[in-house]
């Protein structure tokens, strides 16, 4: 096998941001992504937007999945997006949000740069399929 065999692997950061301490969903999605052949970096609980940005930039992820159930998405998600912008990383990072997000907020988040919002009960295959189809070409 040649050293130059190219191995394109989708890299994702599954992030928990803010005070919300429920990460069962994040674990489940991390596991599902892993089984789909992605490389998943899990952030751990209680991360600040800055930390998420730092991790996303250093790890050079294709996909950033933010799991948020606390209702603070209108405050926290825009901060993450701004941070990515600062590092020129927003353009080629697919940003997804998972959790309980009211429709109006969803529209607003999408305007800011979130690609898709996945609510409770979304089948795992749907999320994986979305990532496969929308992962940015680099």
């Amino acid at each position: 096998m040649s050293v130059d065999q190219e191995q394109r692997t989708v890299r994702c950061l599954v992030a928990k941001v803010g005070l919300d301490g429920h990460d069962r969903g994040a674990h489940v999605i991390a596991r599902a992504f892993r089984d789909a052949g992605f490389e998943v970096i899990y952030s751990g609980l209680h991360r600040s937007p800055d930390e998420i940005v730092q991790a996303a930039v250093q790890e050079d992820v294709d996909v950033l999945g933010i799991s948020i159930l606390s209702g603070a998405h209108n405050t926290l998600v825009p901060k993450v997006l701004e941070g990515l912008e600062e590092y020129d990383a927003l353009e080629d990072t697919l940003v997804l949000v998972g959790g309980i997000i009211p429709d109006d907020d969803e529209t607003e988040l999408k305007e800011l740069g979130v690609s898709e919002v996945f609510g409770p009960g979304t089948p795992m295959e749907e999320t994986i399929e979305f990532v496969r189809e929308n992962v940015p070409e680099r």
Binding site: S2, E6, T9, E39, V40, Y42, Q58
Partner: protein, 364 residues
């Protein structure tokens, strides 16, 4: 922006752009076209970082210790790069890279550049990719680079070739003293760390380690068993003792009056930071020893020699694969061998001969 050419990427990396560094490491990991030129261009900017490898069984506390180590380096005003390798699934290639969770002490500090790497299955080249990522961090200007290995497997030995100093973490109660007799772990460590030293049984583990390390220095250790081990690179005509580097049996050949390095056992509690200062002192003094004894030079030379060999072997293997394809593929040849129309040696010879001829012709 980092979407430009390879040249831009290298320039941006050298200017200290974090995103460019991250992107370069991705290209290296993915073996993207052009990654070789990237590494080539970065090479001349390297040679300033010291590289520490941290290994040990899963759950020994490697990530937490690395986090605290990085913090101490930062407190001293040094910049740090960390590469943490985690296992990947042999079935799907997927991986969960969870070491980042433990990097709590360095939150928001971009001068600790932490990068998770997956072992990417059995496709090989992990050590090459890691070494190339180290090159990128070194060229970026990191003073210290820490490589954290996967908890288990063959890669522990690979780390010896990439790192200047290897710290082996042992957890209290991780097996009886026969575990310590087994080959491998004791032979690669320059510093031993009994982490979670506040756990029951830590004293015994320290005592057992000390005993085994002491045996390493016993009179029989000087016997030449003929094994040069991992660092052996045959370079005829050179000073044998220097080139061999550290031999497996622990009898390190040294230059002049510098005494041999004898590994010590440090107790730490990574979660509280206890013992980290002592560990740092040991790591520093090992590096100083390497410099003073001339071993650093020998190690570096061995590392590059080994790297060149690996590249050549892979490149030649790729050439041979192409040649095999041109001849109808390996399966067809294997069938012919099975039908007794030819034999493996004849097949190999017929494929290699033209390559050898070609090389010989170019000499004339």
């Amino acid at each position: 922006m980092c979407r430009g050419t390879e040249t831009d990427l290298v320039d941006e990396l050298l200017e200290g752009n974090h995103r460019a560094l991250a992107r370069v490491i991705s290209k290296i990991e993915n073996r993207r076209p052009g990654y070789r030129q990237l590494v080539s261009r970065l090479h001349s900017h390297t040679g300033n970082a010291s590289i520490v490898g941290v290994t040990g069984s899963p759950g020994a506390g490697k990530s937490t210790l690395v986090d605290k180590l990085a913090k101490r380096y930062r407190d001293r005003g040094e910049t740090v790069g960390v590469i943490a390798v985690d296992p990947s699934s042999p079935y799907t290639g997927g991986a969960v890279l969870g070491d980042r969770i433990r990097m709590a002490s360095n939150v928001g500090d971009m001068d600790v550049f932490f990068r998770s790497m997956s072992a990417r299955g059995q496709l090989g080249g992990l050590s090459t990719a890691t070494a190339d990522a180290v090159t990128a961090l070194d060229a970026f200007g990191k003073d210290r680079i820490v490589i954290e290995t996967v908890g288990a497997g063959q890669n522990e030995v690979d780390i010896v070739e990439t790192a200047d100093t290897v710290a082996v973490l042992v957890q209290p109660g991780s097996g009886d003293d026969v575990q310590m007799l087994k080959a491998g772990i004791l032979e690669i460590g320059d510093v031993f760390v009994v982490n979670k030293a506040d756990m029951e049984g830590a004293d015994r583990t320290v005592a057992e380690l000390e005993e085994m390390l002491h045996m390493r220095e016993s009179p029989t250790a000087g016997l030449n068993t003929g094994h040069h081990g991992f660092q052996a690179v045959e370079t005829p005509g050179e000073d044998e003792t220097r080139v061999g580097g550290e031999s497996v049996d622990g009898s390190e050949p040294t230059d002049g009056d510098e005494p041999e390095w004898s590994p010590s056992v440090i107790e730490t509690v990574a979660t509280t930071g206890e013992g980290i200062e002592q560990l740092l002192e040991q790591l520093d003094s090992h590096y100083a020893h390497l410099e003073a004894s001339g071993e650093l030079e020998a190690k570096t030379r061995n590392r590059y020699a080994k790297g060149i060999r690996t590249l050549l072997r892979n490149d030649i293997a790729a050439l041979v694969e192409r040649e095999l394809d041109r001849r109808g593929g390996i399966d067809q040849l294997a069938d012919r061998v099975a039908r007794r129309e030819t034999d493996p040696y004849a097949v190999a010879e017929r494929i290699v001969e033209p390559i050898a001829d070609c090389l010989d012709d170019n000499r004339e």
